[in-house]
Symmetry: C3
Subunit: 422 residues, 3 copies
């Protein structure tokens, strides 16, 4: 995982352009995404796909000849989507185009100007303070904005059922770690975990697109399919640090995603946070927009608003804990297991309890004061799984972990005592 991280890190990505394509091509080694291009100017719901942006170089030469804000050293120095510039300006003019964070004097902030033609540089506050107010500055941004296209990728892992579980993250930030590379890497490694499974009940859809406009493009092209088929899923963001798992619920309070996730987190022996849906944040703003309203939650470790390095040069590899990122993927595997297991099973013996003895599912000679926990679980599952409730409801009634009843469910299905309700 770390090797992929290191290869992706230096690339200057944006919501369009060649840095984005290059990043997709590296990830395709892990997850064979099918790439799609959406032309600049395409109307997508209330939005329009912007021109494609590419950049080769950018820097400032101070009056005393020093090169600062050098894109070659850190691609955050240039405001993303800056128009080309090559001129000499006074400090008073330049100042209007400089961005810094006074409260974090060593950090280079991250800034974008996707939808307003402008240019600018981001520098640390210490550098800013050292700049002479007199003399001429040379500013160079060797970028281009032209009619091109926006790139996104998706792939399906088919299952027995056309109903889908959606996993998605975004790819569009330049060199940042937790709020960029953690999500695509988790997505790719989760794909790798699930691709060899046989007998997947559901179909798994993986989507990777630039944040916001990319998600909107994706929804625009796939709306009907998604709305009809997606029954659960997750948006990954900021999932590589060492904070506890944070789950932001789907907009629909009673979605299977919300119920299963809460159940699994509760039964794992870890700290976790569950927070309500809020249309502030990442692509839940699109997937949870009122007409789309997919039952997908947002899965993170530390939320973007709660770590100070967010959207600065300090969001770098030192924030990433690769073991925690692996553990994040393992959580997702458990969510998948639980979603697949959580069917509405229907007891095939409805009148009176099933005669378990003739199936060797009961004690032959009754001498014990009470049944074993296994027999109790069996009788409870058989009684309550009447087709009207899903397995999770019964597990929650009795405090069982849904994953711990898997073998019993399979045994009862094999005996013909339970069937998944059609």
């Amino acid at each position: 995982m770390e090797g992929y991280f290191d290869r992706l890190w230096p690339i200057c990505r944006s919501i369009t352009g060649n840095g984005l394509r290059e990043s997709f091509n590296i990830l395709k080694e892990l997850i064979p995404l099918e790439l799609h291009e959406v032309k600049s100017g395409t109307e997508v719901f209330d939005w329009k796909v912007p021109k494609e942006w590419n950049i080769r170089d950018a820097y400032i030469i101070t009056p005393d000849g020093k090169k600062i804000a050098d894109f070659a050293k850190n691609n955050l120095h240039v405001v993303n989507y800056s128009v080309p510039v090559d001129k000499r300006v006074e400090f008073n003019e330049l100042k209007k185009h400089l961005h810094f964070k006074k409260e974090m004097p060593n950090a280079v902030p991250y800034a974008t100007t996707y939808y307003k033609e402008d240019w600018g540089f981001c520098i640390d506050y210490n550098t800013y303070k050292s700049l002479p107010e007199k003399g001429e500055y040379k500013v160079v941004i060797d970028s281009s904005l032209h009619d091109g296209s926006l790139t996104y990728g998706d792939i399906l892992l088919p299952g027995k059922n056309e109903k889908e579980i959606l996993f998605t993250s975004y790819l569009c930030h330049p060199s940042m770690a937790n709020n960029e590379l953690s999500g695509p890497l988790a997505l790719a490694f989760l794909y790798d975990e699930l691709k060899n499974r046989k007998d997947r009940t559901y179909t798994y859809r993986f989507v990777l697109a630039p944040e916001t406009i990319g998600a909107i493009c994706y929804l625009h092209s796939n709306l009907k399919q998604l709305v009809n088929n997606v029954i659960g899923g997750y948006i990954f963001t900021c999932c590589g640090d060492n904070g506890p798992i944070t789950f932001k619920k789907s907009r629909e309070e009673n979605s299977a995603t919300n119920r299963v996730t809460e159940h699994i987190l509760k039964h794992r022996d870890d700290v976790y946070n569950i927070v309500p849906f809020d249309p502030i944040g990442s692509d839940e703003r699109q997937y949870g927009s009122p007409g789309v309203n997919l039952p997908v939650g947002t899965l993170m470790r530390t939320p973007f608003s709660e770590y100070p390095e967010y959207h600065t040069s300090l969001d770098n590899k030192s924030l990433i804990d690769f073991e925690k990122l692996t553990d994040f993927v393992n959580h997702c595997v458990q969510f998948v297991d639980a979603i697949e297991l959580n069917q509405k099973y229907e007891n095939q013996i409805k009148y009176g309890e099933p005669f378990l003895s003739k199936r060797n599912l009961y004690e032959d000679l009754s001498t014990k004061r009470s049944h074993s926990e296994t027999i109790k679980m069996r009788m409870r599952l058989l009684n309550f799984l009447d087709g009207s409730r899903d397995l999770l409801e019964i597990c929650n009634r009795y405090g069982y972990s849904i994953l711990s009843v898997k073998n019993e469910i399979n045994q009862l299905v094999e005996h013909g005592l339970l069937k998944v309700r059609a």
Copy 2:
């Protein structure tokens, strides 16, 4: 307000008669109620309008020649609706017609005998104790009971919508302050506040009638209109003292009245009480009868059952705090504002979030770690106002005061992003 109080105070009102009409005529200077007369003997649901009662004088002359229980000094001395009497009686006989409150020896109690022909006097207990047991008493009640009519008044302030908000109080008690004049005065001054409003969304109905039988008459004449159109409202009683606002909920638990009132009270910086509906009290007994069941609550300060001066001569001007009465009216204005604002708005951009930048409703250049509270509120309102929820539900989700989001709602409506659901 105090001037009107002083003019209304001395009049001997009852559920019918000229004192009632005189009081209406004073109030009409503030609120141009249309008056209606319902003839004695008219059947109104399970009830019958009683004969009209008028009184000119009443008193007792003790054996030692003192005049006590003098109606001219305090109209509570005569039991309301007493039949005419002019005779001499022994103390033993008189005693059966005397009412007092042992536990409040200085108070003259208030008594009525609307539906049983009888007569009586109310005196303070100290006076009662001083009465000689021997000798003859002269008792005079110069009253009349005749076929006449019961008077009530109402008026509409029309709005864009035929749906109505009802405000009502009662007029029928003789000289008492909190449990009589506070309600009609609040009603009249609220009318005065609302009459000049332009663009009222709803129609406002003001009703003033004798308690119980008057409310029943009013319902009998206006049932269909009320049941079809009233979507909220308030009954005013005991609202002039200096206790905290008390709201008794409407019979329907989830009425807009209940929800809005609770919301506003919670967001004001005042002590308040909310109590469940109970068919004991004032005209909520009628407006909340099972077949009527209007979504109107009862608005008070100290409830009748919780102040000892209730229904005695001590319920006088000294209990009234005119500033608190004004504040009561101001609360009602806020309830009105909230009810008008609390629509089911529908986001006109359903798929993906609206592109706020092109409407200058978003930050152009993203450098901040998180959005301003204004932008967050905007995104939350746009996401959740999908036509399925009213504004109050979303405000409660986020702890916003509904009155504090008014400007934002208006702005989003002006931009065409929100529309009130038809």
Copy 3:
């Protein structure tokens, strides 16, 4: 009650056979059950009625000539449903057929082998320890298994309404007290209490059958009638000890049985327990099976899993408190009263409150500061009993015991103010 207990105690009952029939015949003196026989081999849902079992004698002769495990002294010594045996065996062979409870060295455990042909003896652990390991044992079980029938009984007490309240218990254990005789005795004495009632609103069904297979036979023969008509009821088990009443809810959470039982227990001045439905235990496993799902709860004192003498020879008369057993029956009488009273009454005066004065149901002369509790109760019942709610809901709203409002309800019905909703 004690006399019946003593006569029933020594009989060796099982799920079939003559001991069972003999027990029924004793109980018929109290409750004239109609007896039904279901032939061996009959298929009843997922089960099959087993052969009929009868037994005359059983014992073991030790190598040193002592007679142990003597059926004549305690019928628990033989494993219920043992096949006939008459042979000599080594201790190592015998051991496989001996059952005891190490943790209760004085107790003879209770064991059965209904559905697997086998034989065995139950002895106390102290005896077991004293057995010589060498020498030959003689074992005799003089039993028979033949095609016969299973016996159960039922009887109806008809009411005005064909809807039914079901009371049931089981009869099938040999000499045990709390977990056998307490239930049938409570059932018989409850019948005795209810049989002379006039004007029963509902029909009362009493069922006594062997546990599990008997209940299944009963359901198989009466399913449609039960599912269509039973609106409430109770399964009796372990109800004769001196523990507090324990109510295990019916499977349907909101059943009238659950609501009424909880209400009555709460208003009685006794400790009690209410536990959720769980398909572990007695005949709730059948009456609460998914296709049957009758709204009946399980009524006990100490549940089987919570007293150590359960299913041993120590569950004997010393555990039974006949006063508590009588009190248990009295509880049931209150449940019956409450279920009969708990109708959806409908106020016949829907618009405005009823004019109570003309019916002498109100104070004539209003001088009191507040109404009496009786008048308040009257006004509350009249307001809320609008046909949409049952009486219990209103009693719970105001904290009234449903039994305490009975007279008021009857009075309002007599005045024509309330009617039971058709």
